[in-house]
Amino acid sequence: MGILSRDEDTICAICTPPGVGGIAVLRISGSQALEVARKVCPFIPTAAETHRVFYGFAKTVDRNNEIDEVLATYFAANRSFTGESTVEISCHGGFVVSEQLLEEVRRAGARLAERGEFTYRAFMNQRLDLVQAESVLNLIEANSRRASELALRHLKGDLSAYVNRLEDAIHWILAHLEANIDFAYEDIEAASTAELVSRLRSEVASVDRVLESYRQGRMLRDGIRIAIVGPPNAGKSSLMNALVGEERSIVTEIAGTTRDTIEGALLVNGVKVTFVDTAGLRETQDRVEQLGISRTRAAIKDADLVWWVVDLGDLESSPVDAAVFEVGSEQLWVLGNKTDLVLDGSAEARLGNWLEGVSEHGMRGSRRFCLSCLNPQSVAWLRSELEEQVKLEFSEVSAVLTNSRHRELFEVIKRSLDSGLELVERGESAEFVAFELRAALMGVHELLGRKFDDEVLDRVFKEFCLGK
């Protein structure tokens, strides 16, 4: 929906998912919402009180037929989600009833809302800032408890509060910098270079932390992706099936059975964990298998965690793909599978020796597990380790980025602040620093969907103590 399509139409839509359900909710928003609703629900009083529910029968506009027994709730302008006068009609679920009701509401003068239009209006009416508006969508689409918690935090203005605080901090620095420029000849130093540097450093550090939270935020929203990789027939598919508990991957004893990537998901501590079972990594002439292997490499790139599964019974002939070495040691778990084939209890030692042989550093930074995916105890152990990992990933932070638009703007803000800091430290002229800080402010305003204007100057007036 283009940003220019704001108009004064009264809009309507069914807000519950399509299909048969217990009830369906139809929302009408706009200056004529009450009038439109009354044409279909004549039992709503003309001077309806806000936040009151009215009971009665919905009728066709021509009043000839009754449609359904409904409840209608009225929200006055400025007291509703969109900020406009709103009526929500709850009717019995079911395609026919809700569609007929919608048809009559449109006949009564409302236009069908476009996707996101209610939220857009809430934003335009300053009920929400842009970050909050976006979180509404995230909340609706949340696929796990943690993701919905995070979206709700954004809706309540957590991230917005952080950005507003950041804006204040940048304003302070800019205002003092400007005062230093314009009052240089009046023997007034509003802030010393040392103070400007220290404040800038602390803002750069805080923006850095927020940017780092993007990985975490994205994981909260989308869940964690674990790529299960390794040589053919090491038991990757069996492992995933054991964890997910359903036959998602076809398991055979023929090496190279999984030629494409297959996904399975699991909720761990309220976080969605998606396993990506991949084609085994080996040199092959088979075109289809080659294609599968290149997908495997792509899966490694996308993954938050890579599980490299090797066959403890056949380590010597296990091929090692370079893609595994490119994974950071914190993101790589080495799983020695088929302990059932190593009966002398030397699995760990064997795996360690083998790793020392195949890689320069013996992959010493990575976690190692020796298990058998056929043994339920092994699988339970791995699962509990995974839970620990999830807890570790989601320690509390103040602001969490989940959205790529936010991340891009934070990158802009960070670049500008970095440059500003560097310029101050190099002793460059303040006007260039100010230019960078203004660029950072533009990023902040874009983030919140606000304009950039002379707020900086207002701040000069307010902050700078020559006046009151």
Partner: protein, 631 residues
């Protein structure tokens, strides 16, 4: 009706002179009404022109054909470029002038202009016909008829001077106040504000112990304000001296604050926050143990010393007491005590960008009457008001300067969009596009506008063309010329303290090295035009090209909003989606462009959105919305 003149300018201060001169350059008959013909272009306060943000305005006035820069160049007795070692956008030229010679120069200039009549007298009333201004009535009862009137009354409207708790009617020592005009304006529905300003004591030169003070000289190099001036100073250069207040000074002032009209509630007007009195400084910066003051001679042969930074309205005997605690001033004599002035001004959001009032057609306002402070701010407005009065009579396009073109444009847009509650002083922080609005590129920014409007005379046009051509030549030379890493070049490079070359390099790229300037390239034998006014702007353009182009991009983005014109007759109450506060503000201020609408405080982004939608709908009904064509 037969008009005696095309334009009447009331006031012959810094705004009045530029307004009259602009009218003259447009070929119109101009009358200048002043109550004191001996004080044309008089410096009522500090004896200097320019400074940070203000030097920019002087150069802009010059590029638009104004006279302030010429007068400052001719009468300069100390020249300084402030922030010379900082970046190019925050350098400001400042000339201390012999204020008597300055006033003489301006008097001769104005009298020398054809078709300008100087009328000694006081304008007490406007001649109005309906909503049109047709002239003025003088104190002697005579009526002077015209087609437009420019009011540049400075601090004289219903002015009261405060010497301690003693009040005297008048806008300046030696001159009377102008009564009547502000009452008439108030009756016509104008919102009138009361402002305050102040000036420090003038000291007798011979009573100061100069040996106790730190002397400060001007710059070696002189770069004139005006494109029409030579790079040569006409007058001998003087030194200023620096001294400081101390705890004893502050103690005297604190002990006597109850005698300051500012502090005991006698003065209601709001003072200039950015040019505070010494009482203000001591109160607001209580932890500062000293404040600096410059002792500036008011003229080469004058006995008057101006005490910069020490404006005060304390009684004269208190001024004596605290001044004599300052090193060098132990036995100082005061020739004229410091005092405060309270005066009326028009709340400036009631005027248009052309500086014509909304209420009364043909009435233009410029300078302190619009709530500004400073000679330069006044001159910039005077020029725009005089030009627009003339252009209106001639039926030509208005002269409206953008925020992306000039400090004058920033100032006027600020005034008409936000109004002001205190004397408005220019600061570089006000310019959103500061990296573009530099002193060095003022001709590139404005000379086309000035020439296009017919404000620049033949000499000015010739000099502008010559300078711009020389700059272009130099730019081409720097881009095209190359150094090759031969032995001789490498040795020469080491000789000027810079690294040798690894491969051939253009002159421009070498110049980008932070340690090098055009001087160094000259030493390497590059034939660079030695006129600083040619090479300096080019050097800045080369050295800061990265930031300059980023600034252009910001301007380009903002122009999208600035180019959408809002019709003056737009009925905001018919635009759906505006809050009642927004309707009230938009209807009152009547922004010219969508960009300006967005700068009005209290007008939200959603209102801009609503306006866009409304204009689009209007376009469907009536044809295209209005886009400004510029140049």
């Amino acid at each position: 009706m037969n008009a005696d003149f095309d334009v009447i300018v009331v006031g012959a201060g810094h705004a009045g002179i530029e307004a009259a001169a602009a009218g003259h350059r447009l070929g119109l008959r101009v009358a200048v009404v002043t109550s004191n013909v001996d004080r044309i272009g008089y410096m009522s306060c500090n004896p200097s022109i320019g400074g940070l943000g203000k030097g920019h305005i002087v150069k802009e006035v010059d590029a638009l054909g104004g006279e302030m820069g010429r007068a400052a160049d001719e009468t300069c007795i100390q020249f300084k470029r402030l922030n010379a070692r900082k970046g190019p956008a925050v350098r400001g030229s400042r000339a201390q002038c012999d204020k008597f010679l300055y006033s003489d120069y301006m008097g001769r200039f104005l009298r020398g202009l054809e078709n300008i009549r100087i009328l000694e007298g006081e304008a007490v009333r406007l001649l109005l016909e309906g909503s049109f201004c047709r002239g003025v009535v003088l104190a002697d009862g005579s009526q002077v008829w015209s087609r437009a009137v420019v009011l540049t009354t400075g601090t004289f409207l219903s002015a009261v001077m405060h010497f301690g708790l003693r009040k005297v009617a008048g806008g300046r020592i030696g001159d009377s106040a102008s009564e009547g005009l502000s009452d008439q304006l108030r009756d016509r529905g104008f919102n009138i504000l009361r402002l305050k300003t102040g000036t420090p004591a003038r000291l007798r030169k011979g009573s100061i112990n100069w040996s106790a003070l730190v002397a400060q000289s001007g710059d070696e190099r002189f770069v004139p304000f005006s494109v029409r001036s030579e790079n040569v100073l006409k007058l001998p250069q003087i030194q200023c001296h620096l001294s400081y207040t101390n705890e004893r000074t502050h103690e005297v002032i604190r002990r006597n604050l109850h005698l300051s009209p500012m502090y005991c509630g006698v003065i209601e007007g709001i003072g200039p926050r950015y040019c505070p009195s010494i009482e203000d400084k001591i109160t607001r910066f209580a932890d500062k143990d000293r404040h600096q003051t410059f002792l500036e001679p008011e003229g080469l042969n004058s006995d008057l010393i101006y005490l910069q930074g020490m404006s005060t309205s304390l009684p004269e005997e208190v001024q004596y007491e605290f001044l004599r605690t300052i090193p060098g001033l132990e036995s100082v004599e005061i020739l004229q005590p410091g005092y405060a002035v309270e005066y009326d001004c028009v709340e400036p959001s009631q005027i248009r960008h052309s500086l014509e009032t909304r209420e009364i057609e043909g009435l233009f306002l410029a300078g302190q009457i619009n709530g500004t402070s400073g000679y330069e701010e006044a001159a910039g407005q005077g020029l725009v008001a005089g030009a627009n009065a003339g252009l209106k009579i001639l039926g030509k396009d208005e002269l409206i300067l953008g925020r992306d073109e000039s400090y004058i444009g920033v100032m006027i847009d600020d005034l008409v969009t936000k109004g002001t509650r205190e004397p408005y002083r220019m600061m570089t922080a006000r310019a959103g596009y500061r990296l573009h609005l530099r002193e060095d590129n003022v001709l590139e920014r404005l000379s086309d506008r000035g020439i296009g409007a017919g404000l620049v005379d033949g000499v000015g046009r010739e000099r502008v063309e010559h300078l711009l051509k020389s700059r272009r030549h130099l730019e081409e030379l720097l881009e095209a010329g190359r150094f090759v890493p031969d032995e001789e070049t490498q040795r020469a490079l080491l000789g000027i303290g810079t690294a040798v070359l690894g491969k051939p390099m253009s002159y421009a790229d070498l110049l980008r090295r932070p340690e090098l300037s055009c001087f160094d390239l000259m030493r390497l034998g590059v034939p660079i035009n030695e006129d600083e006014r040619v090479w300096e702007p080019v050097e800045i353009g080369v050295k800061y090209s990265g930031y300059i182009s980023r600034q252009r991009e910001v301007i380009f983005q903002a122009q999208k909003m600035e180019r959408v014109l809002l019709p003056d007759e737009l009925r905001y109450n018919e635009v759906s989606g505006l809050s009642s506060e927004e309707v009230e503000k938009l209807s009152r201020i009547r922004p010219r462009t969508l960009g300006q609408a967005g700068r009005i405080s209290g007008v939200n982004p959603s209102a801009i959105q609503a306006l866009v939608v409304y204009l689009k709908a209007a376009e469907r009904r009536r044809g295209p919305i209005y886009f400004e064509s510029r140049g």
